[in-house]
Symmetry: C2
Subunit: 344 residues, 2 copies
């Protein structure tokens, strides 16, 4: 029924091992035999049996992608990320096994111990992630998206959210804004101690301090009503406020709606800069100046790092990779209004 390497060897008139070496390139094979073998492979339609290969070589050529499939994540970004991981892995001749985080530590242990996968990529790592200690003792390399509190001995990749927060502040400062606010993730995300939210806030605050801006950082819920209430209160309490940084994909459009409802024009009265995917920033009206969350870049990086760790002669990889933020100026930011005009 199925074609085996023995069939190919017979058809090409060579030994089984020769076929194997043609495929792996681990020993020199003369051009003529190689051609003959490849021809046989093609005519017979041979595909190596993955299980046998994994068993003999101790490499499955599969990596696990551990996704947080609980609510609260921004799904499109996740999906985009997953796509990139699959595509990049395929370029390195690897496949991707999808593991959900709700299987927890047992799931990781299972796929690692059964030799199903050679390495793991974990998304949405929290500051005090329970899986981190396990990862350290697992006999397979891993790459984390996000930073746990103690990242020693682990390979982590992420957007440099601190720099992203700072860059937003710098952009607003350079336009003359003196009083700004950060609308961040929902409270629950800070409670979970999720790294990216905390780090953005820190970067925001430090940059504001450094540049001497009056700044306040607030969590932000995601329903239209809650956002409206929060923005209304913020504007009431801080009449001099002219700059807003929004780091919450779900709330972004509600913030714009709220501002408009409250009689503030963007960017005439209030400048808004968001940390979100370009796709979203371009769709709002006005289009948002934004620092993009580079899902593709992160995914690509994660796979590349893992492949380096998996190489026959493992390549030394950096413990931490922080992707520099890139700010794109669009229509939602402008020079600060002359003092006192904001509240009119």
């Amino acid at each position: 029924m199925t074609v085996t390497i023995a069939d190919v060897a017979r058809h090409a008139g060579v030994a089984v091992s020769t076929v194997s070496y043609v495929l792996s390139g681990k020993r020199a094979i003369s051009a003529t035999t190689r051609q003959r073998v490849l021809a046989s492979i093609r005519t017979l339609g041979y595909h190596p049996n993955a299980g046998a290969r994994a068993l003999a070589s101790k490499r499955a050529n599969v990596i696990a992608l551990v996704l947080p499939l609980r609510a609260g994540m921004h799904l499109p970004v996740l999906m985009q990320f997953a796509t990139t991981v699959v595509t990049t892995a395929r370029q390195h001749d690897h496949d991707v096994l999808l593991v959900t985080a709700d299987e927890g530590e047992a799931g990781l242990r299972r796929v690692a111990a059964s030799a199903m996968v050679d390495g793991l990529i974990l998304m949405d790592v929290e500051l005090h992630d329970r899986r981190v200690p396990l990862l350290r003792e697992l006999p397979r390399p891993s790459v984390l998206i996000g930073f746990p509190a103690d990242a020693a001995g682990l390979t982590c990749v992420d957007l440099d959210f601190a720099a992203a927060g700072a860059q937003c502040v710098e952009h607003l400062a350079s336009l003359g804004h003196r009083e700004i606010a950060l609308l961040g993730a929902p409270q629950v995300v800070y409670d979970r101690n999720t790294g990216y939210a905390v780090r953005t806030r820190t970067g925001f605050k430090q940059a504001a301090d450094r540049l001497g801006l009056a700044a306040v950082a607030l969590p932000c819920e995601e329903s239209a009503d809650a956002v409206h209430a929060e923005v209304a209160e913020l504007l009431a309490q801080r009449p001099g406020l002219t700059g807003l940084v929004v780091h919450n994909e779900a709330a972004v459009s509600h913030v714009l709606t709220a501002l408009s409802t409250l009689g503030r024009q963007v960017p005439r009265d209030v400048s808004v800069v968001a940390i979100c995917p370009d796709e979203l920033a371009e769709r709002t009206s006005p289009a948002l100046s934004s620092v993009l969350v580079p899902a593709e870049e992160v995914g690509h990086h994660a796979v590349t790092l893992l492949m380096n760790k998996l190489a026959e002669t493992p390549v030394e990889v950096p413990d931490a990779t922080l992707l520099p933020p890139r700010l794109t100026v669009r229509a939602s930011t402008a020079e600060a209004p002359a003092s006192g005009a904001a509240a009119s």
Copy 2:
């Protein structure tokens, strides 16, 4: 380093085959030996090697999930679907290999021929899908989400979109509406001959005919401006129109905005019923009466069908499974206004 079945056997003082039979339950093992073996497994921390198991048993206990990772799909629904598939597969002791549709037919052939997976689930199947003929000759069972034109010999699952379209019409008709329209997928989706879009339109038209409603079905682009223009023209050309069915997740909110901008109140002047996930329907204002796209149910069904086909003694499964639509009435539909009032 890693614990093998031989280690377990030695530790428990039995033969390797006995351990195997304890694990698989394929032969009777006395309670005492079973306990002893299980204890050894636990103390040694044994996990069967997946590759060896697949090689010997010809079953990998992995299924492929083939996702359309190109643009145009509604990502959150996809993600939700993927989650359900993974979770359900795990309940049947199977893992999920993520394959992207952009690898095309070669990808399917590869994972199937290499015995990496025992079966496949394909999403977003088009009416004239190029992968369908391949699927027929592949030696592994598969389940499709969506219906190709020629579904003979294939197992397909989907929401019954024709019934969904009809149900929307029936709902509007029962409220006294006499002139309605369907805003569907973008033109390009009909051009691709995507089954769900076409079937919804058919169901819509037939129900309208049957019930004697004046009805028109239009494709609908997804940008705010295009939607606005289209709605404006529709209202101008059909002043008596009081009911709208929207089958386009991305356009739904724009339609509501456009109606409001054009001075029509929902549901006082125009009733709107959508075909979309509940989550989305609940978020709009007013909340939309909708037929939900049951991603979870579809995913669960697909896996269950595949598992039946994979059983040692394959269970006969239906070729087509159409999940009945469920309409939830919310705030966007009401009795049709008295004749003539709509245009005022």
